[in-house]
Point group: C2
Chain length 396, copies 2
């Protein structure tokens, strides 16, 4: 039984990469997001149309004269455009992939021009449920269309056009972001030279869908949800969103890392025979759930889980993943983590094997790590080594 | 991808044991529960006292003249005293362990006198949150004490005394019921000749506790919960209890069995781009959740999950499981299932290895099955064979 009380990652991991700050040489520093407005209508997979849309994005590094060093970063379910750096000098928390993006880091901003947009349907500045529907003058809320990963690719392609980037040196993502990268390589093969997919699956498993549905049900059954019109009542479905996030975190961590972090350690040192928090792990989940409520919109959350459920690139090709992958021109890297039980290594092997059968160039590494699905966000040395070596080999 | 629409277990399993009915020779037939009132005070681990209590139980078979053929069945989290047979001729659903209990079955009622009580804190007739507190004349509700597995053993021992059963030929249970059996063997070693633990763990893992806390939070954050006094408002926290049960079912099934049962099959045959049920697995979870609300009490559910979290027989022995097991006089059988990820085989091996080190007689089998944790309720041929052979070897 372990007796650690901190929620941080293992000390040896932190030791190899101390937290940067805006002025450390390996940080992209203080970053201001940009916003682009697209006036053209965007036809969506659900047969509805967005009459124009906005994408907020951040970029790090400089686009070279040949416009050949651009890299697209795709965020995961609860991510956003703030992938690296800080928003101001007082900011204590860097972007979500700061461990991988910066001068001299795996995605080296001295070499690459790195672009990370917030996706359609998100809640951090791009067009989504929080935006105003120009047709009604009202907030979209629950009426925002259920977008797909293909819709994301189309919107991101519009951003590439805007930035005059014909082809990405690499499209990169972890988890849902990796699926987004995969869809790019299939749908717009001429525009992706390298595709890097970390902790992915070719589609969700039945169990993945089941967990998503419990999360959705938690939100939708919260009386404050009001069929998604909570904002009209000046309410937020806090309980549902908190439950969804607590559940999510169980699937992001490995059983081992939970045990090592929290064991069966008691908050008060003894059983209290009441329904308050007894075990440290309960306290951790409450903390994660509460923090999430303040930074995420419930309608966006529902959209993201549905988009995950719907992701299935093989479905357009008679259920045959190999046929889908035959379209790919990119060179590919797939990375999985030994303790990831959300999208385990067997799921990555499905991707790799189908790519091999499709005659597509693919490299694969399974990284031994204790951190479960969340490993993709962490500076695990072996992971950074494999990922970094691949990135070094990309010509610009 | 599978395309089955039924929620039943695999056909080959059902084929080997067609559903009995009250008049088939291998059924215990129509059964009426009994109730015993215990007037003596029961001191609980939480330092509170129950001033008397009632236990409802069922029994099958006949107690022999030597009173040496009695078997105690311990139910799991959502189980009750109705382990076998039917309550009336029109009853279409037998007791929860009818696959194992009956004339000629694994727990052969021609040989054994089988006793199954509903446990303290339950909601099917024994003293629990639905009962009236004699001290106040009001329903216990959320004020019912948090009982422990040890408290259950004490109450069950009072039932054994009442039935004049000095020692059980066997104490048997699956999941939480197996933990209950384990606690009997440790605490009252002279009264247990054989202890059979199916799909158990020596205590919950951090992940197990985390799932339990999400379930509790779902109930406690339901506005209809009213701090457990929902009955005073003529309400039931339906949403919370449904969510808890949906989540529970994900952990009871294996990822494989979910995939084989439901795959990614769509309810309407196509994506509907809305938040209604799209995939069959969502429909299954809704069904399970809704059905549970009608047969279980939320305060009882909270108690049961807390009791599971608290279960840790080693804790009384300085955290040393071997020391705890050194008290055991019974012969033991431990059975695990290859696809059980709630209490996986490694957890059972912890039990077995500690028993071996304690010098206790223990047999162990891991059964290859696709059904996950729920396997303990199912007529899996290899399981019935191992379990049945052991039961045949018990002298009465």
């Amino acid at each position: 039984m372990q007796h650690q009380t901190t929620f941080v990652t293992a000390a040896h991991i932190l030791a190899i990469q101390p937290m940067s700050n805006p002025s450390t040489p390996d940080s992209v520093g203080i970053i201001a997001p940009s916003k682009v407005t697209f006036d053209d209508a965007l036809a969506l997979d659900c047969d509805r149309t967005l009459n124009g849309f906005e994408l907020v994005y951040e970029s790090y590094g400089e686009l070279n004269a040949e416009r050949s060093n651009a890299v697209l970063i795709c965020h995961a379910l609860s991510g956003d455009h703030h992938a690296a750096g800080y928003h101001d000098a007082a900011d204590t928390k860097p972007g979500w992939w700061d461990s991988c993006i910066g001068p001299g880091k795996v995605i080296d901003t001295r070499k690459f021009f790195v672009v990370c947009p917030n996706n359609l349907g998100g809640c951090h500045g791009s067009t989504g449920p929080l935006s105003t529907d120009p047709a009604t003058g009202q907030r979209f809320g629950p009426d925002f269309p259920i977008v797909t990963v293909s819709d994301w690719v189309r919107a991101q392609a519009a951003l590439a056009d805007h930035l005059q980037i014909d082809a990405w040196a690499a499209v990169i993502g972890g988890s849902l972001g990796g699926m987004n990268a995969m869809q790019w390589a299939i749908e717009l093969p001429a525009r992706v030279r390298h595709c890097i997919m970390v902790a992915v699956a070719p589609r969700l498993s039945t169990q993945n869908i089941a967990f998503n549905e419990v999360s959705r049900q938690a939100n939708r059954s919260d009386p404050d949800f009001h069929e998604g019109r909570y904002f009209e009542h000046d309410l937020v479905p806090r309980r549902g969103l908190m439950l969804a996030r607590m559940l999510g975190h169980i699937t992001y961590l490995s059983e081992d890392s939970m045990r090592q972090k929290f064991g069966r350690e008691l908050r008060e040192g003894k059983l209290t025979f009441d329904f308050d928090v007894n075990f440290q792990v309960e306290s951790y989940l409450h903390h994660q759930g509460t923090a999430f409520v303040d930074r995420f919109d419930a309608n966006s959350y529902l959209l993201m889980t549905k988009l995950l459920d719907y992701f299935d690139p093989a479905s357009e090709y008679g259920g045959d993943l190999v046929s889908a992958y035959k379209r790919i021109k990119a060179r590919n890297l797939v990375i999985s983590f030994s303790t990831d039980w959300r999208f385990n290594t067997a799921r990555s092997r499905e991707v790799v094997q189908a790519m091999v059968r499709a005659g597509v160039d693919v490299s694969f590494a399974e990284i031994n790590t204790e951190f479960g699905h969340d490993s993709f966000l962490m500076p695990v040395p072996e992971y950074l080594k494999v990922f970094g070596a691949y990135m070094k080999g990309i010509s610009t």
